[in-house]
Symmetry: C2
Subunit: 299 residues, 2 copies
């Protein structure tokens, strides 16, 4: 079976009854499976994670968004996290057997639907219509409060929906992006500069791996430091290559890796390279994994 | 969802039309998925691999066996592989969410069904009724040709079915066993004694790991040698522990590992320890693997 994942961020993290109503809309769609949801009252924001066949995920996303648009009033919204709309960001993420093109197509169908509900919609990442609209931060700059002015600028005509400020709902960013791997590596030292130097060594911006974002952090209660990373394309920058580089750089300082964390959901395919690398499997096929055989037979 | 696997060996590897009829019986059962089948004309034997929910696998196994019993005449069977019956061995293997007890229970239902078709049935491995019946080789000793005499011995009264020789069908061995991992490790040397010494170091019989069977082989056309292993319990003797021991022993001879092979189907759970070991993941949960979330929601 194909698996598309959707991780919408909606601008409500305090009224949990409202969030429950939105989640119920997803649950009501056959074939859509919610695997996680969390609400943060400081951010006043909730993150929902669901997945299934692309068509089921599209239906669930429409139902989710229609209810969230109906129930959330942005003119009364306060929270510490940047946001621009009631349905703020809706990334569609190809997990299994889905191409980027298919995910972009689903995000376009979703964007048209939301545009039809009078919400200005911008496409980002792999669905971006212009290079300046690739990054969420560029589109969201100025936030909800600056949106009325921003929409008057012809540079910021929305990709779908009216070029007119919607007081109640703000605007929505949707698109497609590759699954992101959140990998933290803990180091047996309290010297934060070691983590910071290693973060610089592996991250793209300083000359490191193309698909790595990294920062060095202190884990004071554990007496360790951490290289906290997002791997934005595990196919092109696989996990073991990054980990082995961290290992090698850490040894320059006489420091060892104390442990790692993979945070949140991970596509099975992202684990293929670690297995092949460390077990020295030159010919391993994912179809040998029994669970995959079952999924392959499901429509 | 629960996954039970069944890997019957039937005594026909030349008449592929007959084998196809047997396979069609499995295919006709809703929820049973055939993931592999192979026929060997020297052995005159076919190995079928299918899986699904336990009840579907039981139904498929009954249908498979009834047709194979009907079509295969052991009195005319010749082949180089040891065998005792038309439906020779039927192991039920718990792959996911199935206990050994459940797999034994399914094999008992299957055994009773086959006994009802006048086939003497012996339970082996985790389903064995006596310690002397644990190993297939003990039960099958004397093969089809010695079965008439063997069945006269009160020590070999079958667990199901008549204690009377069935000329056409012989006898069947069924039971439950843990999934077996076939792991080959290739070494960068042509010195067979290195592979043989390492096989001795890791295998149970010579003082090695409890759940490892191993032999040393020469791969002449590749100019390498191989430690060829079956890991019979990947939970208690996990893959990385065996591989690291081989690595360490090989270094005694100045030899490196050239590569490994995992042969045939592998349960996802068997890959958990390799991932946790080599990525140093202390807290990784299999439920983080997105494909698992989908399988968990399927009935």
């Amino acid at each position: 079976m194909k698996i598309l994942m959707c991780v919408p961020n909606i601008s409500e993290g305090r009224d949990l009854e409202l969030v429950r109503q939105v989640i119920d809309e997803i649950r009501s769609v056959k074939g859509a499976v919610i695997i996680d949801h969390s609400s943060d009252s400081d951010h006043n924001r909730s993150v929902l994670t669901y997945l299934g066949e692309p068509e089921a995920v599209l239906s669930a996303s429409k139902a989710m968004a229609a209810t969230a648009i109906d129930l959330i009033d942005m003119s009364a919204h306060h929270g510490s996290h940047p946001r621009m709309g009631g349905v703020d960001v809706v990334p569609f993420i190809p997990v299994r057997g889905v191409t980027t093109e298919e995910a972009v197509n689903i995000s376009n169908q979703f964007g048209k639907y939301l545009g039809g509900l009078d919400v200005p919609v911008f496409y980002y990442e792999d669905a971006a219509t212009r290079i300046e609209r690739t990054l969420l931060t560029s589109i969201r700059k100025g936030q909800y409060e600056g949106l009325e002015e921003k929409l008057k600028d012809p540079e910021w005509t929305p990709d779908e929906g009216p070029a007119k400020f919607n007081h109640k709902s703000g605007a929505t960013v949707t698109g497609a992006r590759f699954p992101l791997i959140a990998l933290n590596v803990n180091l047996r030292t309290t010297d934060i500069s070691v983590a910071q130097n290693i973060a610089k060594a592996v991250r793209h911006i300083n000359g490191g791996f193309r698909y790595v974002r990294a920062i060095g952090l202190s884990l004071e209660d554990q007496g360790m430091v951490q290289v906290s990373m997002n791997l934005t394309n595990y196919r092109k920058t696989p996990i073991p290559r990054v980990l082995e580089t961290i290992q090698s750089e850490a040894h320059r300082y006489g420091v060892n890796i104390a442990g790692s964390e993979l945070v949140g959901p991970v596509p099975l395919e992202a684990l293929k390279e670690p297995l092949k690398h460390y077990l020295q499997l030159h010919e391993f096929s994912m179809s040998q994994i029994i669970e995959n055989s079952i999924l392959d037979t499901l429509e």
